[in-house]
Structures are given as C-alpha cells and as structure tokens.
C-alpha cells in the first residue's frame, strides 16, 4: 500500500513548524511539519492527548496555531479560513449529527450551510445516503439510529459538499469491533470511488495498519516519523523477543542483566514496555539465532527470566520503539495514569 502508484505527488496539506500552546503553557503541538498528498489516506497515530486532534482542529480552522504555518490545497489556514472551509469536510470525534432531526433533515441542513441549491442538494443527499447505506432509514429520527449508523450519517454529512479533503477525527472511537471494520470499509471505498484525500487520526493500531497509506506517529505533540505501515514494519526488521525478568531480582541486578543483554551484537535495541511493569522488548535480526545467546547472557549475570515470547513485529511494536510506550487500544490512558501514580509513589518514598 505504501508505494501506491495511484498517489501522484500533488500536495493537499502542507504543515510547517506548526506549534500550539494552550493558555496555562501546555504545549499540545510542538514544531510539527509534514505533507499529505492528493488521493492519499493519511493517518495520525498516537495515544490520547498526543496532539492529533489539536493539529486537526488547526487544519480545519477551529483553532489558531501559536506559530508555524499550515496550508490546505495551497491556502493558508490562518489567513483565509473561509476559503479553506469550502475545501474541507470535517467529521469530529463526537457524533455531531442532530438527534432530533431525521437523517435526511441533517443532510438537508448541512447542504444549507454550504449553500448548495435545492435541486442539486436533493440529488447529492440521495447519493451520499446510498454511499453510506442509510437510504432506508433516512426518514427516521437520528436518536433511533445505532452508533455506527450515526457515524455513517456524520461521514455522509462531511461528504455532501464534495470536499477535496476529508478530515476524520477518531472515526471509530467508542464503536464495537464489527462497526469499526464496517466504517473502515466505507472509508477505503470513499478513496477508491471518489479519489478523495482522507486525513484521519486514530489510536487504534489496527486501523492505521489496515487503511492508511502513510502513518505519522505522534506523541507529546511531536511528530516522530511519517512512513507507510509496511516500511515502518520493515524498518523494525527481524523479530522481537519480549520478556520479563525474575521479579525477585533487585534493581541493580536487573540493570546489570539488561546491560549485558544490550552488549549482544545481534540485539539492536531493548525498550521497556509500559514502564514499571518489568516487561521488556528486544529487537533482533533473527530470533531463533539470538535466543540461545540471550539465555547464555542472562545466566552469566546470574539472572533468571520470568517469561519469554518470540514474535514478528506489529505496528504496535513500531509505536513502542518510537515512543517507549505501548499503544494497546484504550488501555493507554489508564496505563499512563498508573505510571504517573507509580512515579509519584516512588518519589514520595
């Protein structure tokens, strides 16, 4: 998917040294630069609070950047927001359809906001309803829709004025797995049928892997890398040895053991998974060949191992190697909280 020949190199989104500092000094976006090309599905991947949505809100003219520049289709977002608005569709994280109106009324309203003439509007409404498969329920109030249907209606509303680029902020947040893959199908279909550029944010690894042409990994407001999913995985190369050390070992001995493991030439990198839990991940060219060396090294330092698994890297591991943190579905938030609590406790004692 990474070298999709359909992607020509016309720039749709250009961001240069973009920063956003919120009142109170929180730096949500820190010197971010990247480009999105026409016809591409580009995804921002990162945990909650990484700054993904903030960047998207700047690009959709909802927030002003503190510094740096952003262009949509060559138009400066801060200088000409009104022109940018004609070019973009935005589907926010929240379900922003009106519950008390019917599906059709929601779309009618959206068309009104964009000043689409009545006749044309009717035709386009029929078209997008067909696209998201909601024709049969178009005259029911939205409050009777399921979560997935609401999201599809929301996406339909974002498509009505035929934007050149569609922004989807966490399009599958809070949806069950079945609905999620249904939404993915619609998004991929959109690109195929309409040739639209799609910019989405997600904290689901699988989502990024399955539908994005390129992924930007973002954490603490900084863009760490932009690559295709396959290149990212290739970059990892080889295998991963995931292991825990015997919990009875003290900090000093653990450190010594890790030091010794790092000195094995075949092991490229060792990172701690979810700091505080004592689980580690070692990257190596060939797991089968490295594993005997791995055990020998541990024995040498008098350490013992708790649990070992050998696996080929997933995007999850890619994320881990970039951020030092695991990105497992919605657990991230909780883990972060726990981690902070552990640190605080350690500081207190």
């Amino acid at each position: 998917m990474g070298n999709n020949p359909e992607i020509n190199k016309k720039i749709q989104v250009e961001v240069e040294n973009l920063s956003k500092t919120f009142p109170g000094g929180i730096r949500a976006v820190d010197e971010v630069s990247f480009r999105v090309y026409e016809g591409e599905i580009f995804g921002f991947l990162g945990p909650n609070g990484a700054g993904k949505s903030t960047i998207m809100m700047i690009l959709t003219t909802l927030l002003k950047p503190s510094s740096g520049k952003a262009f949509i289709n060559g138009i400066n977002v801060s200088a000409n927001p009104q022109q940018v608005r004609m070019n973009i569709g935005y589907v926010s994280q929240e379900l922003s359809v009106d519950d008390m109106l019917t599906g059709r009324e929601n779309l009618w309203l959206q068309g009104g906001f964009y000043g689409i003439p009545a006749e044309e509007r009717k035709a386009r409404i029929a078209e997008v309803l067909h696209l998201v498969g909601l024709e049969e329920r178009k005259n029911s109030k939205v409050e009777t829709y399921s979560g997935g249907m609401k999201k599809r209606l929301d996406i339909a509303a974002g498509l009505l004025h035929r934007p050149r680029i569609l922004f989807l902020d966490e399009p599958t947040l809070g949806l069950d797995i079945q609905t999620r893959s249904e939404i993915w199908r619609y998004i991929s279909g959109l690109r195929q049928k309409e040739g639209m550029t799609i910019f989405l944010t997600t904290h689901y690894m699988e989502e990024a892997d399955r539908i994005c042409d390129r992924i930007g990994i973002i954490d603490h407001g900084r863009l760490l890398t932009v690559e295709s999913p396959s290149n990212l995985k290739k970059e990892m190369g080889g295998d991963l040895i995931r292991f825990t050390l015997n919990s009875e070992m003290g900090d000093a001995q653990t450190e010594r053991a890790l030091e010794r493991l790092r000195s094995i030439p075949a092991i490229r990198k060792i990172v701690e998974v979810d700091g505080g839990k004592g689980e580690y991940s070692a990257l190596t060219a060939s797991g089968e060949e490295t594993l005997p060396l791995f055990f020998a090294a541990l024995q040498e330092t008098g350490s013992s191992v708790g649990r070992v698994t050998l696996k080929t890297p997933s995007l999850d591991d890619v994320f881990l190697s970039y951020t030092g943190r695991d990105l497992r579905e919605e657990k991230v938030h909780k883990d972060q909280g726990l981690q902070e609590r552990f640190t605080r406790r350690r500081l207190q004692s």
């Binding site: 379900l95 009104g112 906001f113």
Partner: protein, 262 residues
C-alpha cells in the same frame, strides 16, 4: 453577501424550530407557564382592586389587565434568557464545530437562534393574549395595540436572548449558565414594574426600577393595555429597546466573529 447571511440565518433558525416543535414537553411548558401566572396570580390578586387605594396605584380596576403585559414580558424574558443553553449543547455535542468548519458566516449562528426565539415567543404571546381576552381583559388600544405589544416583546426577547448567547460564548457548561442567568433574572423581574406598580414601591426600589430595562418594556405595553396610545411612553420604550438591541448585536458580532467559540 446579504443573501448568504439570509440563507445561513434561515437554516440555523429552521433547525431550532424543528427541534422546538419536536419537544412536546417544551411546547406545553412554554404555553402553560404564562397561563399559570395569569390564572393563578390574576385570581389571587383580583381582590386587590376592591381596595380603592390599590386600584388607584394600579391605575385600573382589573388586576388582570395590569398583569397581562407583565406576564408577557416575563415570558419573553424566560424564553429568551435560556437561549444560550442551546449554544452550549451545540458545542458539547460537536454540532457547533460542524457549523464552524462550514462556510456559514459565524454571526448568522446567533441571528438564526434569535430569529427562532422571536417566532416561538410571538406564538406564545398570541396565546397569552387570547387567553387574557377570554378571561375578560380588554386592551385600551384593541387589536392594533396588541400587535404593537408583540413587537415590544420581540425586541425585548432579542436583548435577553442575545445577552444569554453572548454569555454562552464564554461559559462552557449549562449549569454555570443557569446559575448566572438565574442570578440576573430574578432581580430584573422583582425590581421592575412587571408585577407591581412603580408607585407602590419604596423610593429606593423606584430608583432601581427606573433603570431596569424590563420596566422600559413593560411601560409602553402597559400604556397600550390600560390607557391608550401614549406616544411618549411608546417612543421611550422603543428607543431604549433599540439602543439595547444595537449594543447586544454589536457584542454578539464581536463574540462570534472575533473569538474562538470552542
């Protein structure tokens, strides 16, 4: 440019009205509350006019006639003053974000919401007037006077609704807005001549009532109800309301066009 504004305002208003007419409880309460005031308060206070001194203060021998403009203004006030809540919910549900990322001129958001409020309130006022008529209230200026009263109510509702919307651009939770609005409305009503005649107030309260915008809406309306076409009262009321509207719309334009809103 004007056609874009009209079109956008129309759609914002269209949505508000659709929502209003689909909330049955809201409609019933909007109509029932002023009727309760009229019937209950009117009946309770009806004996008041038996007292000649009180009758002289009120300037009428029918308390309901005195009360009807007051009830209308209060209903317009309550109808308008919670308008900001809809903006807060739009923000919370992400609908505001949707409007803000569309080419919709931002100022048309308050314009549409206020247009919807004016239509709702006018409907409510017509019903109040009909019921008052049924209860034996005869306006001194008849039907033309009643129509002018509707205009005063509309002008008053846009001031109150506008202030509420302006507050909602800065306040992010409905609870806070409710608190602020309640803090403002109660003194506004009770320090005005809506329920009691100015002449019956202690002198310090008279001074407060003289500067209370509610009084300036009640004054011309009460003239129309009890006395006739008293032009100084009408022009004074109209002037104050137009000035207040100008100030509120200026404030709204500034808030919606110049601030972030989310």
């Amino acid at each position: 440019m004007l056609s874009i504004y009209l079109n956008s305002t129309y759609y914002v208003c269209w949505r508000e009205l659709k929502r209003f007419f689909r909330q049955k409880t809201r409609i019933i309460m909007a109509l029932f509350q002023p009727l309760l005031w009229l019937v209950l308060m009117g009946n309770m206070m009806a004996g008041l006019t038996d007292n000649p001194y009180a009758a002289r203060l009120l300037g009428v021998d029918n308390y309901l006639l005195f009360m009807t403009p007051g009830v209308m203004v209060m209903s317009a006030l309550f109808g308008g003053v919670f308008n900001g809540v809809s903006l807060i919910w739009d923000r919370r549900l992400g609908f505001l974000q949707k409007m803000l990322t569309s080419p919709l001129p931002r100022f048309s958001i308050p314009l549409g919401k206020l247009a919807a409020i004016v239509l709702q309130i006018t409907l409510q006022m017509i019903i109040i007037l009909l019921v008052a008529r049924f209860l034996g209230v005869h306006m001194a200026t008849g039907l033309p006077g009643a129509l002018v009263m509707l205009v005063f109510c509309a002008l008053f509702a846009t001031v109150m609704g506008g202030i509420s919307l302006a507050l909602a651009t800065a306040i992010k939770t409905p609870e806070t807005l409710f608190t602020v609005v309640n803090f403002l409305t109660m003194p506004l009503i009770f320090s005005s001549n809506a329920i009691f005649p100015r002449e019956a107030m202690p002198s310090w309260l008279q001074i407060v009532a003289d500067y209370n915008p509610v009084s300036y809406t009640v004054l011309p309306m009460r003239s129309l109800a009890t006395s006739g076409w008293i032009w100084p009262d009408l022009l004074l009321g109209l002037g104050v309301l137009l000035l207040a509207n100008a100030a509120v719309f200026l404030l709204l334009f500034n808030r919606f066009e110049k601030t972030q809103l989310i």
